[in-house]
C-alpha cells in the first residue's frame, strides 16, 4: 500500500498547523513508500521528484521557492534507510535517512568512529539532529555540509540504488557543485558505508564558526592519520576541506606530504599550507576568500592534532 495524500502545501504534520508560515506556491503530492522497490517505482513514474529524509534542508528550500517538485517521496518509512549498525567485517553501515541523533548517541559509533560524531553532533541543534540524516546532509551537496569532509577522510563509500540495481562510489564523487550531486533522477542513496579504520589511526573533524552553535561552517577540515608500529612516523594521511570551494575538497598533496614524516607541529604546519593551496573559496556573508584560505590551513593543523591524539589513544 502506498500512502497518498493530495496536499495543497506541505504535509501539515511536518510544519505544524500554523497556516501563516511562508508556503510554496505550487501544490505537490506527498508519498510515503514502505520499501525501496516502491520508492524506485515512484522515481520512475515520469514526474519530478524530491526525496524527503529529515526535511531540514528540503522543506526550507521548498518554502522559499528555491526547489519545486510534483511529488515529495518520504524515505522515513523504508526500514533499510532508517537502520544503522556494524557489519561483521567492521564496516559501519548507516541507512541514508537515519537521524543523526540516534547515530551519535550510539556508544559503539562514538568509540569506533568518533570523527563521524564530531560532525553529526554539530549539525544544527538537538531538534534538527533528531530529524536530519547523513543522506540528506550529503545529497543536499552544500560545500559546507559538516558530514562530508569527515566521511571523506574516513574513506566512506556510498551505496546507491535504483530500479535497475545498485552501485557503490566513494563519497567524494557524490559532489558536482554547490547544491548539485551526481545521482541520476532514478537513483537514491541507500547507505553510507564507513570501512573499518586502519590500525593505529585516528580521525578528527572540526569547523570554524563565529558563534559557538547554530551556524554554518565558514570553513572546515577533517583529517585522518595512520601511524607506524612504533608511532614515530606517519604512514598515511587523508585530509578534506569544507566550505572553501564549490564542493568539499580532498587535499591530496597535503596528505601525501605527511607520509613518512614525524607526526608533529612542523609536518602539520606544512600540510596546512599545502591544504590552503587547494582552497578556492568565495566571499559571502559568512566569510571572505582570504579568511577562508587562512582558515583552511589553521583548521587542517587543528584537525591533524586531533587525529594524532586519537591515533595515539588507539595504539
Amino acid at each position: 500500500m502506498i500512502d497518498r495524500a493530495r496536499v495543497t502545501a506541505q504535509p501539515v504534520a511536518l510544519l505544524g498547523p500554523n497556516p501563516t508560515l511562508r508556503m510554496p506556491v505550487e501544490a505537490f503530492d506527498y508519498v510515503a513508500p514502505r520499501s525501496l522497490a516502491e520508492a524506485y517505482a515512484h522515481l520512475g513514474n515520469g514526474r519530478t521528484s524530491l526525496l524527503l529524509a529529515g526535511g531540514t534542508d528540503v522543506i526550507v528550500q521548498l518554502r522559499e521557492g528555491r526547489k519545486r517538485c510534483d511529488q515529495l517521496i518520504d524515505l522515513k518509512h523504508i526500514p533499510e534507510l532508517m537502520r544503522f549498525g556494524f557489519a561483521p567485517d567492521g564496516t559501519l553501515e548507516v541507512g541514508a535517512a537515519a537521524p543523526l541523533a540516534a547515530l551519535y548517541e550510539d556508544a559503539e559509533v562514538l568509540r569506533r568512529v568518533p570523527a563521524l560524531v564530531d560532525a553529526a553532533s554539530i549539525i544544527g541543534g538537538t531538534a534538527i539532529q533528531s530529524r536530519a540524516s547523513l543522506g540528506g546532509n550529503l545529497c543536499n551537496a552544500s560545500p559546507a555540509a559538516d558530514s562530508s569532509a569527515a566521511l571523506m577522510v574516513l574513506g566512506a563509500r556510498l551505496l546507491i540504488g535504483s530500479a535497475s540495481g545498485t552501485r557503490e562510489l566513494p563519497v567524494e564523487e557524490l559532489f558536482a557543485g554547490p547544491g548539485v550531486n551526481t545521482l541520476q533522477p532514478s537513483e537514491l542513496l541507500v547507505q553510507v558505508r564507513i570501512p573499518p579504520q586502519p590500525p593505529r589511526s585516528g580521525a578528527f573533524y572540526l569547523r570554524f564558526i563565529p558563534r559557538n552553535e547554530m551556524d554554518i561552517a565558514v570553513a572546515s577540515a577533517g583529517a585522518r592519520l595512520e601511524l607506524n608500529a612504533t608511532g614515530d612516523r606517519i604512514e598515511g594521511a587523508r585530509i578534506a576541506l569544507g566550505a572553501v570551494g564549490p564542493t568539499p575538497l580532498m587535499a591530496k598533496a597535503a596528505a601525501e606530504a605527511l607520509a613518512g614524516e614525524v607526526p608533529g607541529e612542523e609536518a602539520f604546519a606544512r600540510a596546512g599550507e599545502l591544504a590552503a593551496g587547494v582552497a578556492s573559496p568565495i566571499t559571502d556573508m559568512r566569510g571572505s576568500v582570504a579568511q577562508r584560505k587562512r582558515l583552511a590551513s589553521v583548521l587542517t593543523v587543528r584537525a591533524l592534532r586531533g587525529a594524532l591524539q586519537r591515533a595515539r589513544e588507539a595504539r
Binding site: P19, R22, F208, R211, N212, Q291, R294
Partner: protein, 754 residues
C-alpha cells in the same frame, strides 16, 4: 549585589512571580499570530525586488482571477496622504512618508518595500495571487551607505528633499541629507591649542536588527458600521490607533486597537506596517483579514537601527577631557528619522566637558526606514566616545576608570543640549565598577584583554493613565494601557501594592485596549515602570483617600481622625478602631458604591540612567574568534522595583550589545539585497556565546518619583560596543573602529589579510 540608599519597602525590592508568567510558560498567552476569527481570511504582501525604482504600473487583474482571492489593494485604494507632519506618539512623522512606507506610491526605496497586497481564503492562495501581480519598474541605482549618500552626485531618493538646517538656511540643493543639527558650547579651538594631547579618529557601524522573535502581525476587521478593530503586536496600541487614523483618514474613535501579547520589540514594534493594509483588505472583502510577516519580510522591510559614520576629535589636558569635536552621520533608511540627534545628545553625557561642537546628519539611503532600537542612537555614539577616552587614558598611562571618574558628570552638569542634570548616579557607577571584584581581579594569560566603557540614556516620561478598582474580596483590579514587554504588569502591580500596603498578589493587572482606558504613550524610552508607575501611585493615593472616607462612615467617626496605614484605615485617637482594606472594600455597597481610583499623568521628573561595564575577552590569534570570559555591568537603577527583572534587563541589553560588537550586521550586496535575512546568518549571540553576565545594581533614587524609580531597560546596551572593542584592543594590540569586530575583521587586521 546592590548598593542602596532608599527607605525600606515592603513589596518594592522583592521578587514575586510575574502575573503573566503562568500563561506564557504554559503556552496559553495569546499572541497576534494566534488570532482566529469567524470568516477570517489571510493577507500577503507583494514586495519590491529592487532597492530603488520608479513604479510605472501595477496590474492586479491576473491576481484577482485566482480562485479564493477576495480582495487586492494597492496604493490607489488609500486616501491621498497629506504632506503634513504629525506627532503620532513616535516623534514627528510625515503622514505622506508613513503612508508611502506602508504601501509604496510612485517609488520603491528599498528591497522588500510593500507594493500591493492580496487577501484570500488561504495564505498559499494569497501568496500565489500576489505573485501574479504585474509591476512594471524603472530600476534606479541604489545608494546604500551613509557617506555615499551624502555625496553631491549620489542618486537621490527624493528629488524634492532639501536639508533642514537648524535655525539657518541650507544650500537649497536636493540632497539625501534630511537634516543637520549642531550642538556647540565653549571654545574648542582654544582648548585643542592648549591640550596635552589631541586624538582624531573615525568610526563606523552597520545597520543592526533588534532581534525580537515574533514577526510583525496584524488582524483587522472592518465592521459594517464603519468602525475598525485591529488585533496586533505593538509597543503602543494608541500609537497604532493614531497612525492608522492618519493613514486611513478616520477619526481615532472609530478605531479600536487590541494589543496582543508581544514577542519582543526593543523599539522595532512602534511603527505600523501591516495594519492599514489589513484594514483595507478587510473593508474590500468584508472579512477579517490577518497578515503575518515571514522572517525575511521582517529583516528586509521593518526598521532596524542605523548604520553610522562618526569622526571625533578629543583633547586631554592633565586628567581632564577638555574638548570634543564630532561629526555624526546616521543612516535613516528610506525616509528621514534616524536617531542621530539622540546620538549627538547622549555621546558626552556621562562627562562634564566644557568645549564641544557636534554636527549631526540624518541621511536617507536605499535600505528600510530605521526604527527605534533600545537607547536609539546612543550605542554607536558611545562606541566612538568610549574608545577615544580609552585611547587617551592608555596614552597618558591613566586608569581608564579613574579618568572617567575625574571627568564624570554629576548633579548640576549641563548636557550638550543645555539641560541640567538633577541628582544622577554617573560617578557612583564608575566607583562601583572600580571597586567591583571583577575589576580588582587580575587578568592573566596571552591574547586576553579587559575593557571598560560607560553609557548614558535620557529615559522618557510621556503620558500614562491607569484605573484601579477595589474588588469586594479586598483585591484590586489595575487596568493599564502599556504593552508589557519587560515585566511591567509586575512592576506596576508592585508599586500599587506598596502604595496601598497590600500584598503583591492582591493586585490584578490587565493591559486594556484603546476603547477601555485613556491614552497611553508607547512602551519605550524605559518609561513604563517610571511614568505608568507615577499614574499608579496617583491612583493608589486616590484609593487611600476614598478608603478613609468609607471607613469614617463604617466606624462612625470623623474623617480627620483617620489615617490610611499598613493596608487599612486607623483611628489616630483609638487604637482599636481599625478596618482592613478588604473589610472596607467588602462593604462598598453600603458606603457609597464601587471604590475606584485613577491616575493620569504627563510624567515629569524623569531620572536619567548611567552604566559602566567591565569585560574580559580572549581572542584566538589564528581564527580571530572572540570569547567573552567575564562581563560585569554596573548601573544606577534608581530603585530596583523587581530586582530580578532589572537584572534581566541589564543582561539582555548586554547580550544585544555584545552581538552588535562582534558579529551582527545587515550584509547587503551592491544591488541592495540583504544576504543574511535569517537568524542563521544574522549572527546574534546564543546562550553558549556568553558567560553569566554579572550585575551590580547601584540605587541612587530618582528625586522625580515617589519610589525613586528610573528607567532601566535601555542604558545597558550603550556601553558594550566600546567595552568589547577596548578589551579586544588590549588583547590584540589593534584598535577596531569599525563594527562588527568579526573574526573576519580581526584576521584581516591582525594577520594583514586584504
Amino acid at each position: 549585589m546592590a548598593a542602596t540608599e532608599h527607605p525600606s519597602y515592603k513589596v518594592i525590592g522583592t521578587r514575586p512571580v510575574r502575573p503573566d508568567g503562568v500563561e506564557k510558560v504554559t503556552g496559553k498567552a495569546q499572541y497576534g499570530a494566534d488570532v482566529r476569527l469567524p470568516g477570517m481570511i489571510h493577507g500577503k504582501i507583494l514586495r519590491s525586488p529592487h532597492a530603488h525604482a520608479r513604479v510605472l504600473s501595477i496590474d492586479t487583474s491576473e491576481a484577482e482571477k485566482v480562485p479564493g482571492v477576495m480582495a487586492v489593494v494597492t496604493r490607489a485604494d488609500f486616501p491621498v496622504a497629506e504632506d503634513v507632519v504629525q506627532d503620532l506618539g513616535e516623534g514627528a512623522v510625515s503622514v505622506k512618508e508613513l503612508s508611502d512606507n506602508v504601501l509604496a506610491s510612485d517609488k520603491v526605496l528599498y528591497r522588500g518595500h510593500a507594493v500591493a497586497a492580496v487577501a484570500a481564503t488561504s495564505p498559499h492562495i494569497a501568496e500565489e495571487a500576489a505573485g501574479r501581480i504585474r509591476v512594471e519598474y524603472a530600476v534606479l541605482p541604489p545608494v546604500l551607505a551613509v557617506r555615499d549618500a551624502m555625496r553631491e552626485d549620489a542618486p537621490l531618493l527624493d528629488e524634492q528633499r532639501v536639508t533642514k538646517e537648524m535655525g539657518g538656511q541650507g544650500s537649497g540643493r536636493p540632497s539625501n541629507v534630511a537634516s543637520h543639527l549642531r550642538f556647540a558650547g565653549g571654545d574648542v579651538e582654544a582648548a585643542f591649542a592648549a591640550a596635552d594631547e589631541v586624538v582624531e579618529r573615525e568610526f563606523t557601524t552597520k545597520m543592526v536588527h533588534q532581534g525580537y522573535i515574533e514577526p510583525q502581525n496584524s488582524t483587522a476587521s472592518w465592521n459594517a458600521d464603519g468602525t475598525l478593530t485591529i488585533w496586533t503586536s505593538t509597543q503602543g496600541a494608541f500609537v497604532v490607533r493614531s497612525q492608522v487614523a492618519e493613514v486611513l483618514r478616520l477619526p481615532v474613535s472609530q478605531i479600536r486597537v487590541i494589543p496582543m501579547e508581544i514577542g519582543g520589540g526593543f523599539g522595532g514594534k512602534i511603527p505600523i506596517y501591516l495594519d492599514p493594509v489589513a484594514a483595507l483588505l478587510s473593508k474590500k472583502s468584508g472579512r477579517p483579514v490577518k497578515i503575518v510577516m515571514s522572517r525575511t519580510d521582517v529583516f528586509e522591510a521593518t526598521g532596524p537601527t542605523s548604520g553610522s559614520y562618526i569622526r571625533m576629535k578629543m583633547a586631554r589636558k592633565d586628567d581632564r577631557i577638555t574638548a570634543v569635536q564630532a561629526t555624526l552621520a546616521y543612516e535613516a533608511g528610506a525616509y528621514p528619522g534616524s536617531a542621530v540627534g539622540a546620538g549627538a545628545m547622549t555621546m558626552l553625557s556621562p562627562y562634564n566637558i566644557e568645549n564641544f561642537v557636534i554636527d549631526a546628519y540624518d541621511v536617507c539611503v536605499n535600505k528600510p526606514k530605521t526604527s527605534a532600537y533600545r537607547a536609539p542612537g546612543a550605542p554607536a555614539a558611545a562606541f566612538a566616545t568610549e574608545q577615544m577616552i580609552d585611547e587617551l587614558a592608555k596614552n597618558a598611562k591613566l586608569d581608564p576608570l579613574e579618568l572617567r571618574l575625574k571627568n564624570s558628570a554629576h548633579e548640576g552638569t549641563r548636557m550638550v543640549n543645555g539641560a541640567v542634570f538633577p541628582r544622577i548616579g554617573a560617578e557612583e557607577t564608575v566607583r562601583a565598577a572600580l571597586t567591583s571584584p571583577h575589576y580588582r581581579s587580575p587578568i592573566e594569560g596571552p591574547n586576553r584583554g579587559r575593557g571598560v566603557a560607560s553609557g548614558f540614556w535620557f529615559n522618557a516620561g510621556l503620558q500614562s493613565s491607569v484605573v484601579a478598582s477595589a474588588n469586594s474580596d479586598g483585591t484590586v483590579n489595575l487596568i493599564e494601557g502599556s504593552t508589557d514587554i519587560g515585566g511591567t504588569r509586575a512592576s506596576l502591580a508592585m508599586q500599587l501594592a506598596e502604595t496601598l500596603g497590600l500584598p503583591f498578589e492582591a493586585v490584578r493587572p490587565t493591559v486594556a485596549d484603546t476603547d477601555s482606558i485613556s491614552y497611553n504613550d508607547v512602551t519605550g524610552g524605559s518609561r513604563v515602570t517610571f511614568a505608568s508607575g507615577l499614574a499608579v501611585y496617583e491612583a493608589g493615593q486616590e484609593l487611600r483617600k476614598e478608603m478613609v472616607r468609607r471607613a469614617a462612615k463604617l466606624l462612625g467617626v470623623d474623617e480627620a481622625e483617620l489615617v490610611y496605614e499598613d493596608g487599612g484605615v486607623q483611628s489616630t485617637r483609638d487604637a482599636t478602631k481599625r478596618l482592613r482594606f478588604s473589610e472596607i472594600a467588602a462593604k462598598a455597597g453600603q458606603t457609597g458604591g464601587p471604590i475606584a481610583g485613577k491616575g493620569a499623568v504627563q510624567a515629569r521628573g524623569v531620572g536619567a540612567a548611567f552604566g559602566t561595564h567591565v569585560v574580559d575577552v580572549e581572542v584566538d590569534p589564528e581564527t580571530g574568534k572572540v570569547q567573552i570570559l567575564r562581563y560585569t555591568a554596573v548601573q544606577d537603577v534608581g530603585t530596583a522595583v523587581h530586582p530580578s527583572y532589572v537584572e534581566g534587563q541589564i543582561q539582555g541589553g548586554v547580550a544585544q550589545g555584545v552581538g552588535w560588537a562582534l558579529n551582527e550586521e545587515y550584509y547587503y550586496d551592491e544591488s541592495g539585497r540583504l544576504l543574511n535575512a535569517s537568524y542563521l546568518d544574522y549572527r546574534m549571540p546564543t546562550a553558549l556565546d556568553l558567560p553569566l553576565i554579572e550585575t551590580v545594581l547601584v540605587e541612587v533614587p530618582n528625586p522625580g518619583h515617589p519610589y525613586g524609580v528610573r528607567g532601566v531597560g535601555e542604558v545597558p546596551i550603550v556601553p558594550p560596543l566600546a567595552a568589547v572593542a577596548n578589551a579586544i584592543a588590549e588583547a590584540t594590540g589593534h584598535r577596531f573602529r569599525d563594527l562588527p569586530i568579526s573574526p573576519r575583521r580581526i584576521m584581516e587586521e591582525t594577520q594583514g589579510l586584504a
